[in-house]
């Protein structure tokens, strides 16, 4: 078996696919930056990301997939599901083995698993469009912290750019340690360390706009007022809003400790 080591990016993986065909590598297993027990494998193949090679693979996929299928394929990569690169490679092999479009051949295992991963990413992106909670700082920046299961920030940036066209905002992915910043004209990707300690009342008054805490309290009040007690259904509540998201949702964070 050959361990194919790439840099973790989509382009890196596409380069790897190109080289597997180029060097006729067999029995390959992908690894992000060698993050895998290398001893099990007989040899390593280190991939250096090459955009020309990556584009060749992309063009091949483009010719054989619908526009939807093509963008779905990328979404599957962003799902970060375990061993998704392996499934994507099987899918690509199947795609390249035939001239007709097989992206809806759902009884094929790779096709089905790609669809599942794609939908997972899509669902997570939709959730993040919903669950971003901006806080307003003193210098009028709206910022939010998210920790999505899949790497969706670049999938949702245009949604926020179109919607909040007249306010500066920053959305930071605390899991992947990067953010997207909008400066009223353009989007840019920023890498920074964001202090993510427990939010104290003092912290809020120090960096936030004077109305910020009040609006958060209004939102909490609204959230509890629209609930109908006699219809309580916590199972459904948690199904829609799983607990892993609660720490970034203002309405689900316990009241701030006033000092």
């Amino acid at each position: 078996m050959i361990l194919v080591i790439y840099d973790g990016t989509y382009e890196g993986w596409l380069t790897a696919v190109f080289e597997i065909y180029e060097y006729k590598l067999e029995d390959t297993v992908f690894s992000k930056n060698g993050a895998c027990d290398a001893l099990l494998f007989s040899s390593n193949h280190v991939v250096i990301t090459d955009f020309k090679k990556a584009n060749r693979v992309l063009n091949g996929l483009k010719q054989r997939l619908s526009a939807d299928g093509f963008s779905s394929f990328h979404k599957a990569f962003l799902s970060e599901v375990n061993h998704i690169e392996q499934t994507m490679f099987q899918f690509a092999q199947y795609i390249f083995s035939t001239t007709k479009n097989v992206e809806e051949d759902f009884s094929n295992a790779a096709v089905w698993d790609i669809r599942k991963a794609t939908r997972l990413t899509g669902k997570e992106a939709h959730r993040m469009e919903a669950f971003v909670r901006f806080k307003l700082t003193k210098d009028q920046l709206y910022y939010a912290i998210i920790e999505p299961e899949c790497d969706v920030l670049h999938l949702i940036e245009n949604h926020f750019k179109n919607r909040y066209a007249d306010q500066r905002w920053l959305i930071y992915d605390a899991k992947r340690k990067y953010g997207v910043y909008y400066d009223l004209e353009n989007l840019s990707t920023v890498e920074l360390e964001f202090n993510q300690g427990p939010v104290s009342s003092k912290f809020l008054t120090e960096i936030c706009d004077e109305q910020e805490e009040f609006f958060q309290n209004l939102w909490k009040r609204y959230f509890s007022s629209v609930n109908i007690e006699s219809r309580k259904n916590m199972k459904l509540h948690i199904q829609h809003m799983p607990k892993r998201y609660w720490r970034n949702l203002i309405e689900k964070i316990p009241p701030i400790n006033k000092k």
Partner: protein
């Protein structure tokens, strides 16, 4: 700017608005204009979910809960001894913008108790929408309640700013409305619906000819019926809903299980359970009619005026029509596949796409996430042809009920028996 007093008002006026179940923010497609604030997506976004499991998409509030009417089923009725409050126009505008900019909501759903008279109330609602659109360049979603009895001019103005308008019929029949809402007039409810329908159709036609023509309530109109407060059966309710869909071009009819809030002896007593299952079955039937090609007469009829509570309406229909099964999923038309219990809209699409590549077998359906345990009694597979034992409707129903576990099992009774 909003101040501390607003906190208390928000509590009162959000609480009073929560019995209106509509929270849709879909179907509008309003675009961001001149780099202003907001847009309304074709699909809605649920920003949060309450502990009762309902979606929170809009800031849903009453402008005021002062009301000159005394409708028995309503918390804000004149004779009810509750705290009253009223927002100012600016307070509603600031709240909406403040929430929207923080990505808490998709927009505003504004309703109101009727103070003074219908026109006066409607004027206030319109003024808020106008201010949001023209002064704040707000392009998010706005749902306004059309106040029964308001003038056509005001409704027209409302349509210019709102994405959706709704008039709640509240009671499924005229008699019930008379009984519980003596100040309201059935005609006053139907008339604005009819007016809005014609305007919406008219503007849509105009938009086709001239893309610069203004939007008029692009997300259409909806209405709501209270379920379980009065004695109407499901045939009457679904018949009424069908009338709204066919004749009024309604985008949605909402069914709101009555939450007992009054000791009035015309209504179910406080403590009576909310008819949650019945409400759910009505929504299922509603979906079958709108998306699955069912006719209302196939789901309820004179000899069967109420939906089954223990099984869903599609299964109920299938059991009454066993002669139409089994359906061969490898060859049948998608419309027939959609009628198989346990196979939904998406499931049917997956089947039709995947069968182009190979003959499907039961295992494939299970993989597609289709409820095979329910659908198996209604399916045929081409090769090898699977012989279905000849089961009667009752046998199939028993088998399916045995594998289902509903936490509401004990509630499968007709809640109307409680008068």
């Amino acid at each position: 700017m909003v101040n501390e007093r607003v906190m208390e008002k928000l509590g009162i006026l959000a609480d009073a608005a929560k019995y209106d179940v509509s929270c849709s923010s879909a179907l509008s497609n309003r675009k961001n204009k001149d780099k202003g604030l907001g847009d309304a997506k074709g699909y809605g976004i649920c920003h949060s979910y309450t502990e009762d499991g309902r979606c929170v998409s809009l800031l849903k509030i009453l402008l005021t809960n002062h009301c000159i009417f005394d409708c028995a089923y309503c918390v804000s009725r004149k004779s009810n001894d509750i705290k009253r409050a009223a927002f100012t126009v600016d307070e509603v505008v600031d709240l909406t913008i403040g929430f929207y900019r923080r990505n808490y909501i998709e927009g505003l759903f504004l309703s109101s108790g009727i103070f003074d008279n219908a026109d006066y109330t409607m004027q206030r609602l319109v003024r808020i929408a106008k201010k949001l659109r023209l002064e704040q360049n707000f392009n998010g979603y706005i749902h306004l309640k059309a106040i029964p009895g308001a003038s056509d001019e005001l409704l027209k103005e409302a349509g210019m700013y709102a994405d959706r308008l709704s008039v709640n019929v509240e009671m499924p029949t005229e008699q019930s409305l008379k009984l519980l809402a003596p100040d309201k007039n059935h005609k006053d409810v139907i008339q604005p619906m009819e007016y809005l329908k014609n305007e919406i159709v008219g503007y849509k036609e105009e938009k086709k000819l001239n893309y610069k023509a203004p939007l008029f309530a692009p997300a259409g109109q909806s209405t709501q019926m209270v379920i379980g407060a009065t004695k109407e059966n499901d045939l009457e309710i679904l018949g009424m809903a069908d009338y709204f869909y066919q004749k009024m071009n309604m985008k949605r009819v909402y069914y709101s299980g009555y939450v007992p809030i009054s000791n009035d002896n015309r209504l179910p007593a406080i403590g009576t359970p909310v008819p949650i299952i019945r409400e759910n079955r009505l929504y299922q039937a509603d979906w079958l009619i709108r998306y699955y090609g069912f006719n209302v007469n196939e789901i309820v009829g004179l000899n069967q005026p109420n939906l089954d509570l223990d099984i869903d309406p599609k299964l109920g229909w299938a059991l009454r029509n066993l002669h139409q099964f089994p359906v061969d999923i490898n060859t049948a038309d998608i419309e027939l596949i959609k009628r198989i219990p346990g196979i939904g809209y998406l499931g049917a699409q997956k089947i039709v796409a995947a069968r182009k590549f190979k003959k499907l077998v039961p295992h494939d359906l299970q993989k597609f996430g289709i409820a095979y345990s329910r659908s198996q009694y209604f399916l045929a597979f081409a090769t090898p042809f699977q012989m279905q034992k000849d089961l009667t409707s009752i046998q199939i129903k028993d088998k399916i009920l045995n594998i289902q576990k509903s936490k509401y099992k004990n509630d499968f009774s007709n809640q109307l028996a409680l008068f």
